[in-house]
């Protein structure tokens, strides 16, 4: 945690692309993520079937040429449901990452710049948050403040704050003793300006890698909450919500659970590979170990 290789970042964007496309993890992860994002985007304009249209005669139909992934207990097309549900899953995870970055990064940079009591307080705060099992706390928050997508975002986002604070602090601490930061201080720049102009640009790559990981964890967390009935509420749907509905109908229609789960696995796999690939490219020191 204390030694962070920052200077290993590629020199230019072209250099980054050249290295990125040589990494197998990055390529596969990027391709999967792109497909998932494109599917979510397409669902805004078009889905194979209209999911607000309930066809009870077609309920729980197995996989067929008309319905590639079958239909659910209301006769809705599961492929269309997965496409629409991806928007909730992705949106919850992204906003939770934004919450974590927005609050965690300034906290971490502030602690690194000030040191002393501020730094100690941040570390104790981190200890405190990490002492609570994340899933348990998310369950408590969503069931106390009411189930729903917004409260799910808050519940997941809270745990992203110390994660990003820790990464930003570790990165910033490694940079403060550098010559160019000393030069900036000698030139009379204050801590806030140094952080914005010199520290932040140099920890962006680390934050990007962490954001990818937290994004994947956010998808899993949203699925867990919705599976317990605490996340997205009907008529809104999400992959976890589909699994919640599938659970009691598993025996007669296993396809109800199979496909939404596979959507989660593929998306999380893609994001994790993308994160691994980014780390390989942005931090060659770690690549040696892989």
């Amino acid at each position: 945690m204390s030694t962070v290789e920052v200077e290993a970042a590629p020199e230019s964007f072209g250099d980054f692309l050249r290295k990125a496309f040589a990494s197998r993890s990055f390529l596969i992860g990027f391709a999967i993520t792109l497909v998932v994002a494109a599917t979510a985007f397409v669902s805004l304009f078009w889905t194979p079937y209209d999911i607000t249209n309930l066809v009870v005669a077609d309920r729980m139909k197995p996989v067929s040429a008309e319905h590639w992934f079958g239909t659910d207990h209301f006769g809705r097309d599961i492929l269309s449901m997965i496409m629409v549900g991806s928007r909730t899953s992705i949106a919850v995870a992204i906003v939770a990452v934004v919450v974590g970055v927005g609050l965690g990064v300034p906290l971490g940079c502030w602690a690194a710049a000030r040191g002393g009591a501020v730094d100690d307080a941040l570390m104790r705060f981190n200890d405190l948050v990490f002492a609570f099992p994340a899933l348990l706390t998310a369950i408590m928050i969503t069931s106390i403040f009411g189930p729903g997508a917004v409260n799910a975002i808050i519940a997941i986002g809270i745990f992203n704050i110390p994660v990003f604070a820790r990464v930003a602090r570790a990165g910033a601490l490694a940079l403060w003793p550098r010559e160019y930061v000393l030069a900036a201080r000698a030139a009379g720049k204050n801590a806030a300006r140094i952080t914005v102009e010199h520290i932040l640009p140099n920890i962006t790559s680390m934050l990007l890698v962490q954001a990818t990981i937290q994004f994947a964890l956010g998808i899993l967390a949203e699925a867990s909450l919705s599976y317990l009935g605490l996340g997205a509420q009907p008529p809104m749907t999400s992959w976890g919500r589909m699994l919640f509905d599938a659970q009691t109908r598993m025996v007669v229609a296993p396809h109800l659970a199979l496909f939404p789960g596979m959507a989660i696995v593929v998306t999380v796999l893609g994001l994790n590979l993308l994160g691994d690939g980014l780390r390989d490219v942005l931090d060659p020191r770690l690549r040696r170990e892989r």
Partner: protein
């Protein structure tokens, strides 16, 4: 070393005290009067008031906090009003399901992960390494509750080999109980095993890059012995850390898995207590879980310090 221990224990204690304040305050600001919940909607205001007095709910907040903490210290977690029995008894009863579940899962994930990590590291860069780490990547991405649903379908509904859910208790011998825990512990263990296998592999590869490994190889020690005697032992530090964290995670992860399998464990207890607003139960279980996590973190740090004296100066 003693100074390190004291400092570490002090930080742990501080975390625990802060956590207890957070838990207590959150429960405090929640709407809903426990006395009214217990007596129902038709109770007279006088009856509610007298029960509030009896339960000590009319005392000032700091006094009630200290009462609660004092009780915890002597093992008195209060009384649940939905189960009308002491919380500590409920916890003990439910832990007899959750603790074995978490332990079996941990054993299972370790038994899978260490050999796979070792295998992959010793074949670094070859097809077998890529395949096993690819499988681990997929394992990390699988939500455990979804995996649980698939296991139920395959082994309970389709093959009819194992029970789909429920728990017969330990009264009828070890075997029926263990049978009921097989699918839940596999579901919990697999994603954890995938993470642990990746950590084991990268820890091993890091150690294998060290000079003393090259020295051992240079003096003619066989590769296999170097791997087992020198590399694995040194790589165990990060592996043990992750295992410690995983145990805490497994305990909390039982919440969702116990709901899939209808197991009467701690996870289901707290989930039901949350939905029924049985706050004294929620407080008790949460603070117990937090204490477990803090203790595990201290133990991991102390284990680190014993192995690597440089860390004591931190």
């Amino acid at each position: 070393m003693i100074a390190f221990l004291l400092r570490r224990a002090g930080i742990g204690l501080l975390t625990l005290v802060l956590a207890s304040i957070v838990v207590f305050s959150v429960m405090e600001i929640l709407p809903g009067d426990p006395a009214r919940l217990m007596l129902g909607m038709n109770a007279t205001p006088e009856a509610v008031e007298s029960l509030r007095n009896q339960m000590g709910l009319n005392q000032p907040v700091p006094i009630r906090y200290l009462d609660w903490i004092g009780g915890l210290l002597v093992g008195d977690f209060g009384r649940s009003y939905t189960y009308s029995s002491p919380v500590i008894d409920l916890i003990a009863e439910r832990a007899s399901v959750s603790l074995p579940l978490a332990l079996i899962s941990l054993a299972l994930s370790t038994a899978i992960a260490i050999p796979v990590g070792l295998f992959a590291a010793s074949r670094r860069g070859r097809v077998s390494d890529t395949l096993s780490m690819g499988a681990a990547q997929v394992g990390v991405a699988i939500p455990n509750f979804w995996f649980a649903l698939i296991l139920v379908y395959v082994f309970a509904v389709w093959l009819r080999l194992l029970p789909a859910g429920g728990f017969p208790g330990w009264g009828g011998g070890i075997w029926p109980g263990v049978r009921a825990l097989v699918l839940p512990s596999v579901a919990l263990a697999l994603p954890q095993a995938a993470i642990l296998a990746r950590v084991t592999r990268s820890a091993l590869l890091e150690v294998l890059g060290e000079d003393y490994i090259r020295t051992a190889r240079a003096k003619g020690m066989p590769r296999r012995i170097v791997l087992w005697r020198h590399a694995l032992r040194n790589a165990m530090i990060p592996v043990l850390t992750i295992m410690g964290l995983q145990f805490a995670f497994l305990l909390a992860g039982t919440i969702i898995i116990e709901n899939v399998f209808y197991l009467p464990g701690l996870g289901r207890l707290i989930f039901q207590a949350i939905t029924q607003r049985d706050l004294i139960v929620v407080e008790g279980v949460v603070i117990l879980l937090v204490a477990t996590i803090v203790l595990i973190n201290i133990l991991v740090d102390v284990a680190y310090a014993i192995v690597d004296p440089r860390l004591r100066a931190r």
